[in-house]
């Protein structure tokens, strides 16, 4: 049967009940229920994978949870459907919803509707469910943010109608330092339309990219006439139709340190998934059909897939175009190189008694945000380009799109709605330029999104690295020299190439004091999916290598691994000079350690895991199940010193509430909540008096965006400054009213208080009304903020594992993270960051790896074969927040967003070694690899240590 456009599609009537109301819809017989529900405005039903794996699209069908992406709409005939929108009674939340809000069970909120529905259904049938049963019931809901601890805790608490966990520290503050629920949590648990895709714009077209089937090819000819002729197609763009502007997609402050090696569309394709053409059509089906009708003749070039041979003589050149800039050595496929040194490592090695050296390998890891990249663009009534997009970097997107599409920044309006997880993957301008180009070409609103499949290889990933670490020691275990050499693949484009790798050196090596430090790195292009920013930003690779080697050395020196670390760790008062050498792609600034709780992290973490007993526990050598524990340490930064900056505006409303505008981009981790807490604390009002608007380039002031663990310290610093100024202006108005000098007044709990007589108060609302209508002044203050240092948070991680020596399977039984993040402004949210990072880190250690075939095609681009952990896979998590006071941070805070991803890899590898005596120097450590290594050891004495040892 031939079809053209929607009109000729056969249709049928569907009658069903949704959330208790009868519905009658016209559908196509092949429609899936997910598509129909979203089309009809049930936006709480999320699209996360369309393959039945993620659970974001869960609904209740006659009371039972099912994934709406794997059932035909017609199958719902005469059935009763409940979506998340139907769970609360008016404003009265269901106990599960309330509990998720209260217990911090919600981060980005994208997985939340499904979790609400499954939990509700399960608890109704199993009112006394155990934690284990709840974990099983929720195991079909992938959550990339929380690590599942808090959602599970929340569901358990809902069952017992338990009340909110009190803040665990005594506080001198009213609001910061307390477990305030996320300010946006209610809209997530009720499934209100908050995400990029949760709107419908009349006339909106569907845009789609034709991905390259080849890893490396030149487009000899491209014929789009058949695609253009298809009814319902409004635009087909190829490189011939768009401006050619070299740029980087990396969302970094201008001038970006990443090479300008990327084009909106090009006549050459450099990885499987690279853009060949783009179409905009009336529907997804028509757009997909149009792509099939584009005829491309490729001159297929040999691909460069192996980073270790990317610079070999005679290897094809990936970036042979003339107009790219900032590439170190395009002819040898070298995007960037780094050579930095403090002291003289060669001298250090000469002075050392012992030298150890080994090589480590880390995989490409994917972010797997539950919400794939999505952008909607349109022209507003003034013909300005509006970009509604799932991004961490609204202001960089505005600048980049302006440059690529050659329109002034002033003519662009970027809106960041709620974001379904970022983790660095959305620190990238990825769909915004091409979507905008399609809107300009058609004059119509256009939506573009990656399917889960496309997201895996067309978005970004963590850089794969080969790391060689060489360390020189004195006999007593003091480190004299530390030399790390890294080879990294940036994939087809150099986005974040020098900076991620720079971080591998600057954040990792200085963890241990040593007079001689050296970092060498080559970052090469390969015809593989593009790497980019990912939580940890180069550190998980570096710490895996360094923390593994330290563990190996401890054994050689017969020292307890904790003791060896304590001997060498950086301390308060130290200056990290390597960071001065390794800035954001240029010279940076030294880091003075003003706060450091590492000793306490190690001590409390060791106690929590039972280090002493378990390290020396006798083992049953006959059992196939062997236990072990391991430790790893790391540090991170808080913002990019001297580069990241943000700003905020604080405005008083006539009722005594405040509006706070900040350019900062909450990606689900809770920035809006923490910034609201800072504002409320500083202004002396309760949290409900703060309305925070963020991440909109028309309505909020500039901020570099959510990355580099900068939000709390930079955006938070800006909010605090602006709020302090607003409070001062406010008190100027209050003072004459209360007849008390300004310096004798304070604001607290919505009152202005006379410090000399605390009973003498006046409601802030009264002063606000006076200011607005009598004094006729708008209390409005702005502030900008940056710092020239990047105070590191610290983390000690302990893992306990069980290795099944017959199958090779490694089960993590317990993971303890003890973290110094300064003062935790919201301990519950801080723990959530640690737990979520822990889950990603365990996945990185044991499962996650983008597998490519010999043609550069990704083999496991789906959640079935790219495994991220479920609630059932997670070990017991213990999170310990070790308080310190950071002078540079607002209210003593440091960052918490990234650090906890660094350690699970080495801690687990070290624990496996402790369990079975085999060292894994490559991630992920799959059960298959473990079993192979066990067999190899059985058949031969394992060549264990590449050690260049001098006489002791």
């Amino acid at each position: 049967m031939k079809r053209s456009g929607r009109n000729s599609t056969p249709s049928m009537q569907l009658s069903l009940r949704v959330n208790g109301e009868a519905r009658e819809w016209t559908i196509a017989p092949g429609d899936l229920l997910l598509d129909v529900l979203r089309r009809e405005g049930y936006y709480g039903v999320k699209r996360g994978c369309e393959t039945g794996e993620c659970g974001a699209c869960t609904i209740l069908l006659d009371g039972k949870p099912v994934n709406s992406c794997m059932i035909f709409a017609a199958q719902a005939e005469d059935r009763e459907i409940t979506t998340v929108e139907g769970v609360a009674h008016g404003d009265q939340l269901h106990p599960v919803q309330q509990s998720l809000v209260d217990h911090g069970g919600v981060q980005c909120g994208f997985c939340t509707p499904g979790i609400v529905l499954s939990s509700k259904a399960y608890l109704e049938e199993h009112p006394n469910a155990s934690e284990d049963e709840i974990r099983t019931a929720l195991s079909g809901h992938l959550c990339r943010c929380t690590g599942y601890s808090k959602p599970v805790e929340a569901v358990l608490a809902a069952e017992h109608a338990a009340t909110r966990k009190p803040s665990h520290a005594a506080h001198s503050h009213d609001i910061v330092g307390h477990n305030e629920p996320k300010v946006d949590a209610v809209k997530f648990v009720t499934g209100r339309p908050a995400f990029t895709d949760d709107i419908h714009i009349p006339g909106m077209l569907y845009g789609k990219i034709l991905p390259s089937p080849h890893a490396h090819a030149r487009i000899r000819s491209i014929d789009v006439s058949k695609a253009r002729a298809l009814p319902g197609v409004h635009a087909v763009l190829t490189y011939k139709d768009v401006p050619r502007v070299p740029h980087t997609t990396a969302g970094q402050a201008w001038p970006e340190p990443s090479p300008y090696d990327t084009y909106l569309l090009d006549s050459k394709v450099r990885f499987v998934g690279d853009r060949v053409a783009a179409v905009a059509a009336e529907s997804r089906e028509i757009a997909e059909e149009a792509l099939r009708r584009i005829q491309v003749e490729y001159e297929v070039l040999p691909p460069v897939l192996d980073m270790e041979h990317a610079s070999d003589p005679g290897v094809p050149v990936i970036h042979d175009e003339k107009d790219s800039t900032g590439i170190h050595d395009a002819r040898h496929n070298v995007a960037s190189v780094i050579h930095k040194q403090i002291g003289d490592v060669e001298q250090g090695f000469r002075d050392s008694d012992l030298i150890f050296e080994n090589e480590y390998r880390t995989p490409r890891q994917h972010h797997c945000s539950l919400e794939p990249h999505i952008t909607i663009t349109w022209l507003d009534e003034d013909k300005r380009l509006v970009i509604r997009t799932s991004t961490q970097i609204p202001f960089h997107v505005r600048r980049q799109v302006g440059m690529i599409l050659q329109i002034p920044v002033q003519r662009i309006h970027v809106i960041k709605p709620r974001i379904g997880g970022g983790f660095g993957g959305k620190q990238e301008m990825l769909l915004e330029d091409i979507c905008g180009a399609l809107t300009l070409a058609t004059n119509r609103p256009v939506k573009m999104e990656y399917t889960r499949h496309e997201e895996f290889f067309m978005a970004r990933s963590r850089h794969a690295q080969v790391l060689r670490v060489k360390m020189g020691f004195r006999k007593d275990g003091t480190i004299l020299a530390n030399h790390m050499s890294v080879l990294a693949s940036t994939g087809a484009y150099g986005s974040h190439s020098s900076t991620v790798q720079g971080n591998t050196g600057s954040k990792v090596l200085p963890l241990y004091r040593a007079p001689h430090l050296k970092f060498d790195c080559d970052i090469v292009y390969t015809n593989t999916p593009v790497s980019g920013a990912f939580r940890g930003y180069g550190c998980p690779q570096g710490f895996f290598a360094q923390e593994s080697l330290i563990d190996e050395v401890a054994e050689k020196l017969r020292l307890d691994p904790i003791e060896l670390r304590l001997k060498n760790l950086i301390r308060q008062g130290d200056t990290d000079e390597l960071s001065a050498q390794l800035g954001e792609g240029r010279k940076g600034l030294p880091r003075l350690i003003r706060s450091c709780g590492m000793d306490e992290c190690l001590a409390r973490g060791a106690a929590a895991i039972g280090w002493k007993q378990k390290r020396s526990a006798r083992r049953d050598k006959k059992s196939p199940f062997q236990h072990g524990i391991g430790v790893a340490c790391s540090m991170q930064g808080s913002s990019i010193a001297g580069i990241d900056w943000g700003s905020a505006t604080v405005t008083l409303n006539e009722d005594g509430s405040y509006r706070v505008h900040t350019g900062c981009a909450d990606v689900g981790a809770g920035a809006d909540t923490v910034l609201s807490q800072i504002a409320a604390e500083t202004l002396g009002v309760t949290l409900d008096k703060i309305t925070l608007l963020s991440g909109d380039t028309d309505y909020t002031p500039f901020d570099v965006g959510a990355y580099a663990s900068s939000t709390t310290i930079i955006s938070g610093g800006a909010v605090k400054k602006a709020a302090e100024k607003a409070r001062a202006s406010f008190l100027e108005v209050a003072a004459p009213l209360m007849k008390v000098p300004v310096e004798k007044l304070t604001c607290r709990n919505n009152l202005v208080i006379d410090l000399d007589d605390e009973r003498h108060t006046m409601p802030i609302a009264e002063v606000a009304r006076h200011a607005t209508y009598k004094a006729k002044v708008q209390i409005i203050e702005s502030a900008s903020h940056f710092i020239t240092d990047s105070p590191p948070p610290f983390c000690a991680t302990f893992a306990e594992v069980e290795v099944d020596t017959e199958t090779g399977k490694v089960r993590v039984l317990h993971l303890v993270n003890a973290v110094d993040c300064g003062v935790a402004l919201n301990p519950n949210l801080a723990e959530g960051q640690v737990e979520g990072a822990a889950a990603q880190g365990i996945g990185y250690a044991l499962h996650e790896n983008m597998q490519l075939d010999e043609n550069g095609r990704m083999l496991n681009a789906n959640f079935l074969d790219y495994k991220i952990l479920s609630s059932k896979d997670m070990p017991k998590l213990t999170t310990i927040l070790v308080p310190t006071e950071e002078p540079l941070g607002p209210y003593g805070a440091k960052s918490i967003g990234e650090i906890a991803i660094n350690n699970p890899g080495p801690a687990i590898a070290n624990a496996i070694y402790h369990a079975i005596g085999i060292r894994f120097r490559q991630l992920p450590i799959r059960s298959e690899d473990v079993l192979r290594a066990i067999h190899e050891r059985e058949s031969a004495a394992q060549p264990n240590f590449a050690e260049v040892s001098k006489s002791l």
Partner: protein, 287 residues
């Protein structure tokens, strides 16, 4: 994805379903839970025939035999106290390991078998339980052993007929059973799965043996060689080694993104051994 579908049929009788399936004009396809089908891009399918309104969702006793209707869901099987107690609950255990709760609420037993994935989790327990499938074609009704139903990866003997029900003869009494599944994570399709059943006389001599292996050959298979080794012998560590090695020789695994063939072979050996050990434990026999 299913943009060429022109009709979604919801027949109420088996004969109508079969008539619709065999309709000459266009490409018809049966759909039960949809959990396999809806995820495939069915770009050629023109007619979908829903089989969930044919009264085939049941678990019935028929003398000593058990009949399970093709559209019985995995959840219903997993939660049936009868199935939980039949043959040490291996079928319930296998059903409970199929995907997540949301999948199992839709996924049917018939769909799992008709889809004929080599990794289908319910196949191995049904194979060791000597189950038969009942197929209704345009003209005739056929009953054939499950071993003959699977003909290759995603290929069955169903042709254009409807899988109506599974018939499990009463499980051999005083027999112990085990189901073992190995996945990369807790919710995963099988890298290898094994079902086994044995009966021992007073001297620990094996008087009945069944072993089935999944995800290690083009279709779920019985390990006849290993079973043969077991029968009549005294079950001890030595025999366990021999049998699990034999089972690992009977398979024809592939290398894929989930595991190498060599690893599947090793896992087969380990899981067969563990299955038999669990059976022995269930019979309260020490080896």
């Amino acid at each position: 994805m299913f943009e060429h579908v022109r009709a979604f049929h919801q027949p109420r009788t088996i004969s109508e379903a079969i008539r619709l399936l065999n309709h000459r004009d266009g490409v018809a396809c049966l759909v039960a839970g949809g959990t396999d089908l809806a995820l495939r891009a069915g770009r050629t399918v023109t007619d979908l025939v829903d089989v969930t309104h044919l009264g085939l969702a049941y678990i019935k006793r028929d003398g000593r035999a058990i009949r399970i209707g093709a559209t019985t869901t995995m959840s219903a099987i997993e939660q049936s106290s009868f199935i939980q107690h039949m043959a040490n609950g291996i079928l319930a255990h296998a059903a409970a390991s199929c995907g997540s709760a949301q999948t199992r609420n839709l996924a049917t037993l018939g769909g799992n078998l008709a889809n004929a994935s080599p990794a289908a989790d319910t196949a191995t327990p049904l194979l060791v339980l000597d189950a038969d499938v009942v197929l209704q074609g345009l003209r005739a009704k056929r009953r054939l052993p499950l071993t003959e139903f699977f003909t290759g990866p995603h290929k069955t003997a169903a042709n254009a007929s409807l899988l109506v029900e599974l018939v499990i003869p009463g499980p051999e009494p005083r027999t112990a059973w085990s189901f073992q599944k190995f996945g990369r994570t807790e919710v995963d399709i099988s890298i290898v799965n094994v079902a086994a059943g044995i009966k021992l006389d007073r001297a620990n001599r094996v008087t009945f043996a069944r072993i089935a292996l999944g995800a290690v050959a083009p279709r779920p298979i019985r390990a006849h060689g290993a079973e043969f080794l077991l029968e009549g012998r005294v079950l001890d560590q030595h025999l366990l080694d021999a049998v699990s090695e034999e089972a690992a020789q009977e398979i024809d695994p592939i290398d894929d993104v989930r595991a190498s063939a060599a690893y599947r072979r090793e896992l087969t050996q380990v899981l067969v051994r563990r299955a038999l050990l669990e059976c022995a434990a269930r019979l309260e026999r020490a080896l």
